[in-house]
Subunit: 152 residues, 2 copies
């Protein structure tokens, strides 16, 4: 069973995002070993660049296998293309990491080190909603691969 | 104050989507008169095409002013572009309707009658999550127009 690690910066604040996350993680566990890693969001006592570098260092420590950064400037994929990407990646790695930065993004170092950068589209999403969309899209990808009726 | 009407097909099932919707509607009410219209999802006793036409007829009855269909094949806008679109539309109409179809989409008639078709990106979203993303994007657009610090 493939391992999916979702690396996020910061915590979800509202309980409805927590509940949505819980639901998708429950559903994902039919398809993969799922691990959620929450990197603490650093206080903005230092410059924005220094904050991103501190967070980035912690993200890089957690990376393993193939890694994908969700990034508005990344390659835009449709849901079936994400499924194809996941299927293909699983041929080469038993772990796939997905990374979502804070509302300030991620450091240049993280952008350089990840295997791929994927975009959901041109809209800006708050990081809590981006996390729920990411979970739903990964779940959808597994459903597409498995040929279940969830994806239309 | 501009009126925003969000026309959706079907109900939200999970309570966490209901809570997310409630939160964004509360926030939106600082910026607009907001109305949510839920068209009942028709049972699939007839063909898919007949179902879409029945739902479509009810959607068309509720349209007023400028209308925007969220549609994966529509024009893809960034969040600042959606804000510009909203600002521009408000010059010509005191009401703007946003339409989200069921998981089967909307009838051809609805596609023809709406003023614009806008896409969030190439990914397929379930209609409950699409509704939350739409509410967040409309809220974000008002923040961009108002120059608040919500949008980064």
């Amino acid at each position: 069973m493939i391992k999916i690690k979702l690396i996020c910066v910061g915590k979800l604040k509202e309980s409805f995002w927590e509940e949505a996350q819980k639901e998708y993680i429950k559903r994902l566990q039919k398809f993969c070993k799922f691990e959620l890693v929450e990197i603490p969001e650093k206080n903005q006592t230092s410059t924005a660049e220094e904050t991103l570098q501190k967070e980035g260092k912690l993200i890089l420590e957690k990376l393993e296998g193939k890694s994908v950064l969700f990034d508005v400037s990344g390659e835009q994929l449709s849901s079936p293309q994400l499924a194809e990407f996941l299927e293909n990646s699983s041929l080469f790695s038993s772990t796939i990491c997905f990374v979502i930065g804070s509302s300030h993004g991620v450091s240049e170092e993280v952008k350089r080190q990840v295997t791929s950068r994927i975009s959901f589209g041109r809209i800006t999403l708050p990081h809590n909603l981006a996390r729920v969309v990411a979970l739903e899209q990964i779940y959808r990808a597994f459903n597409i691969i498995s040929g279940t009726s969830y994806h239309k």
